[in-house]
């Protein structure tokens, strides 16, 4: 369950719905479908996979309809479980994004009343629940139905008998687009931004009745006004700029992202990093708590190492979905929530819990006007524009790490002597990232070699350990390779048993204090016969003799090496995936923004 769209107006709805769905495919692409008014009952078209396939069918003449692109959570990705769903009569159809927690009990009740279900999903019950109130008006029956639902939903309801759409929102994003004698609704702005710049972001608990002329919005059944935002359309049809995949293009955008992140933040004369403009009036925190999922969580772990090194305030990092409750704190405690899309349901839930616990909440997203931005008190926009298209994160991860570096430095009391060299290193990062990209042919060789194996391990220490985690995630997402990251010292406490001649190990070997300990770990691995690849900025004459392949990347401050090492691993994972002929931009079973718990 992922993206929903709806239209009512004077144009043929079919192509408008499909166009909207195509722009929402980043939210999932297991299946898709549309519902439009039919001759006697509602017509449903659905299919497995991408929206492209629906286009070939004959265009339906209806002037209103709803659509859905699905990322399977409850119920397998089958045609039966694809949205839209109708009630028993075929007069009402719904599309839903979210999770209904109490669907089992509602379904039992409805089945006892004689309703027939065709799918395993939680969503289908909503259509039948609305039907069970069919002695009321349509808007009223929707109100009655959703009052029984527990969980999250963005919902659009279509009726055979009226061109009014009913939409509702609870903990899942939903925007209305206001046109001239036509109204749009969608899970996210890109689906409608080309059609109209005027959008309304619904609040939790809102229900809206969309007629072609206007939307009527209600909260607790009382009419309310919601402000209209003007969002200029920026092309979402970003090409691949001559690259074969969005992922590779976005990897190549990283030097620019780094440059944009530091631009205007660093000064050598009054040495330091200036505060982010949105935090300018804020004191330094007593404690920091960061929460995120996936790649953003790895960025948070790098931020944690950096923060602990340069400030006295304590820092905690948690996976967002693991947060059930938080102890009450003072507002001198910051809660930082990182999500590329700003729509990650788990991260938003964690931010809500933190806000209620008294944290000063800060959102770090690449999407202004996202649900997260609107929930938190302060918002930091990462500089990974234009939006990331590849499902696997690259430039957004780098931009998150960079913002955490800058945040730390703007809160720290580093002695000026040390600060100068850090600032110079920070300034040179865009250039060094560029030099790393130029090593592509070496990473390609490693990626192709790695592609022969089904399992791989990554080891690192300190601030590079989260980089190994991120590298392993890229290998899983892009190359479908079972890859695991371990702190180098942990390997011999168990994972050692897995090492054979067919389990390559990628080791991140930074120059400096940790190098000798990494070399010790590598020697232990080599003695078990596993092939080892070293990514290092250290002395090749020491490292090359004991590993199978060593590649020397540009050198920076040890604390900034994660940027360079990440780029190396991104390119290795990319070429590994390419050699394994994986669909790099749209990995199976994944969605770009995970809007369900």
């Amino acid at each position: 369950m992922c993206g929903i769209v709806g239209y009512t107006g004077h144009r043929k709805a079919h192509s408008i719905l499909l166009d909207g769905l195509r722009r929402l495919e980043y939210r999932g692409y297991d299946s898709c479908g549309v519902a439009l008014p039919g001759k006697k009952t509602i017509t449903i078209e659905k299919q497995l996979g991408f929206v492209e396939g629906l286009k070939t069918k004959k265009q339906h003449p209806g002037l209103y309809g709803i659509g859905h692109t699905r990322w399977a959570t409850v119920g397998r990705p089958t045609i039966e479980n694809a949205h839209p769903f109708t009630d028993c009569s075929g007069n009402i159809a719904i599309v839903h994004n979210g999770d209904i927690d109490n669907f089992v009990s509602i379904r039992e009740k409805l089945e006892n009343e004689g309703h027939q279900f065709t799918s395993d999903t939680d969503s289908e019950i909503i259509a039948h629940l609305i039907e069970s109130y069919n002695n009321y008006s349509l808007p009223k029956s929707v109100v009655m139905a959703i009052s029984e639902l527990q969980g999250s939903y963005a919902l659009a309801v279509l009726s055979q008998h009226t061109n009014q759409l009913i939409v509702a929102r609870q903990n899942s994003p939903l925007v209305i687009g206001i046109g001239e004698n036509e109204q749009f609704v969608a899970s996210d702005v890109p689906a409608i931004a080309e059609k109209t710049p005027n959008v309304i972001f619904l609040e939790d608990g809102d229900i809206a009745v969309l007629s072609p002329e206007k939307p009527d919005i209600f909260h607790n059944e009382i009419p309310v006004k919601r402000s209209i935002h003007n969002i200029p359309w920026v092309s979402q049809e970003l090409g691949k700029a001559g690259y074969r995949h969005h992922f590779l293009k976005e990897v190549h955008e990283q030097p620019r992202v780094l440059q944009d992140s530091i631009s205007g933040r660093i000064s050598n004369i009054s040495p330091g990093v200036s505060k982010h403009p949105s935090l300018i009036s804020y004191n330094k925190p007593d404690n920091i708590f960061i929460s995120a999922c996936g790649s953003a969580y790895h960025a948070a772990l790098i931020g944690k190492q950096f923060w602990s090194n340069f400030t006295s305030a304590t820092i905690n990092v948690e996976i967002a979905s693991e947060i059930e409750s938080l102890k009450n704190v003072s507002q001198n405690d910051w809660g930082i929530f990182i999500s590329q899309s700003g729509e990650t349901a788990d991260t938003i839930a964690a931010a809500r819990i933190a806000r209620n616990a008294g944290y000063t909440t800060i959102g770090l997203t690449n999407t202004p006007n996202s649900s997260l931005t609107r929930l938190v008190e302060f918002s930091i926009e990462t500089k990974a524009t234009p939006p990331e298209n590849s499902v696997a994160a690259s430039k957004t991860f780098i931009s998150q790490v960079m913002e955490l570096y800058l945040l730390t430095l703007s809160c720290s009391q580093i002695p000026v002597s040390q600060l100068y060299s850090m600032l110079n290193e920070l300034r040179s990062l865009p250039e060094k990232a560029q030099r790393t990209l130029e090593m592509n042919s070496q990473f390609k060789e490693i990626g192709k070699w790695l592609a022969k194996y089904d399992n791989s391990y990554l080891i690192a220490k300190g601030i590079n350990y989260p980089v190994a985690l991120e590298g392993a995630l890229k290998l899983k997402e892009l190359a479908y390779q079972h890859a695991e990251a371990f702190p180098a010292g942990e390997l011999k406490h168990g994972p050692f048993a897995l090492l054979t001649e067919s389990t390559p190990v990628l080791a991140i070997v930074p120059d400096g204090l940790l190098q000798s300990r990494m070399l010790t770990s590598i020697k232990e691995i080599k003695s078990r016969g596993a092939p080892v690849i070293a990514i290092t900025n250290g002395d090749l004459s020491l490292i090359s003799p004991i590993v199978d392949i060593a590649v020397k990347v540009p050198s920076s401050d040890p604390m900034f090496m994660p940027i360079i090492n990440t780029i190396a691993l991104q390119l290795i994972a990319y070429h590994c995936a390419d050699a394994r002929e994986c669909p790099i931009d749209r990995p199976r079973n994944l969605a770009k923004s995970v809007t369900v718990h």
Partner: protein
């Protein structure tokens, strides 16, 4: 037949530009910066100004540098596609690489030639097919002569200096698809056009007086930089500390700050996120890229400075080109002087500074003599005087 229906341009951008070493080690010739923009950007802007937005760029050497900068063209008002020329075998071969993308009529332009919108406008007003020519008197001695009679091309000649014609080829063409049949087995586009003429086709010659310039040697970059900077407008820079003096057109991009008592005489352009000064002097025809630090008491005149460059205190830079990611130690001197530089098959004695490749690191108290080229990634330790070219990635201790 007028050609206001032309909406496509093929931009040839595959070449390396070896005579521009060491600046072209990590970038193709078209990406050399002039007034803080790559030469190719001026070409794209000139096309877009004439509403030519469907652009196919033929890339080759270091193609990622072109793609990463221009992406899909959204930021430039164009829709850009990329075609790969596997080997740099000349302009005919480059156009052949784009054959499957060609519309019925199209422009062909050279990505490494700085070109004014008017030059393209002149060409678009001519009858199809046409080549754009300019008078040799404008000093373009490196380009093939074109024998023209009654506004028609008789042939391209081999020698640039051929006295029988005052016209040289600007490398800008308005063509139709019939040329494709003559591209096979040819290296240069003029040869292919000669063959087309031999089949009886009529090719018009459109004289242009629009500004048009080519960079062949590093010193040409200073000429083009001067040309571009002469036409900039000041953007009334705001981020200035007390005592900063600004005269003439000076353009400073966002997030850059000029510290107290600096003295800047335009035309000068300064990119994003730079920190200049206090007490730095910058004189005309200087371009400074993004993310550059220039420390106090440094003097700069007629220089092209790339991105992420750090110039330390008490340095002197004149007539010098610095690529990206260069770090210069305190009291660095690259002073302009007369020096002998390569010019086609012989040498010329000209006034010049030095050329510093990407990611060069230089210690304190280093002097570089005029005309010296420092290869990319070279490291020079403190106190050295460098009088001859330094190979890339070398370490001078």
């Amino acid at each position: 037949m007028k050609n206001n229906t032309v909406s496509q341009a093929i931009v040839l951008a595959a070449g390396r530009g070896e005579r521009l070493y060491p600046l072209t080690t990590l970038r193709p010739k078209v990406m050399l910066p002039i007034g803080n923009k790559p030469i190719l950007q001026y070409v794209i802007e000139a096309l877009v100004a004439n509403d030519i937005r469907n652009i196919v760029i033929v890339v080759g050497y270091q193609q990622e540098k072109v793609q990463d900068y221009f992406m899909s063209g959204d930021n430039f008002g164009a829709s850009i596609q990329y075609v790969m020329q596997a080997q740099q075998l000349g302009t005919a071969n480059a156009l052949l690489a784009a054959a499957s993308h060609l519309e019925d009529q199209f422009l062909v332009v050279q990505g490494h030639n700085w070109i004014a919108a008017d030059t393209i406008k002149d060409l678009l007003s001519a009858n199809m097919p046409t080549i754009s020519v300019t008078n040799k008197a404008q000093g373009h001695t490196q380009h093939r002569s074109v024998n023209v009679r009654n506004g028609k091309v008789l042939s391209f000649l081999e020698s640039p200096a051929d006295p029988i014609t005052p016209w040289v080829n600007t490398g800008t063409y308005l063509l139709d698809k019939s040329i494709v049949d003559h591209l096979e087995n040819e290296l240069d586009l003029p040869n292919a056009i000669n063959k087309l003429i031999n089949t009886g086709a009529i090719i018009n010659a459109q004289p242009t007086t629009g500004i048009w310039g080519d960079a062949i040697y590093p010193r040409d970059l200073h000429i083009l930089n001067g040309l571009v900077l002469s036409n900039i407008d000041t953007n009334n820079p705001k981020n200035l500390e007390p005592g900063v003096v600004i005269k003439g057109p000076v353009k400073i991009d966002k997030n850059s700050i000029i510290r107290a008592n600096s003295y800047i005489i335009g035309p000068v352009v300064i990119g994003e996120g730079c920190e200049i000064g206090p007490s730095v002097t910058i004189f005309p025809y200087t371009s400074i890229g993004n993310n550059v630090v220039i420390e106090s008491f440094t003097y700069i005149r007629n220089c092209i400075i790339g991105n992420s460059v750090h110039v330390s205190t008490h340095s002197h830079l004149t007539d010098t080109v610095i690529a990206d990611g260069v770090t210069l130690g305190p009291r660095f001197t690259a002073k302009s002087d007369f020096a002998s530089v390569i010019n086609e098959n012989n040498t010329a004695n000209i006034s010049t500074g030095c050329v510093i490749g990407d990611n060069v690191t230089i210690g304190a108290n280093v002097s570089i003599k005029a005309g010296v080229l420092l290869g990319h990634g070279a490291t020079i330790r403190e106190g050295k005087t460098i009088a001859e070219n330094i190979p890339e990635l070398s370490n001078v201790i």
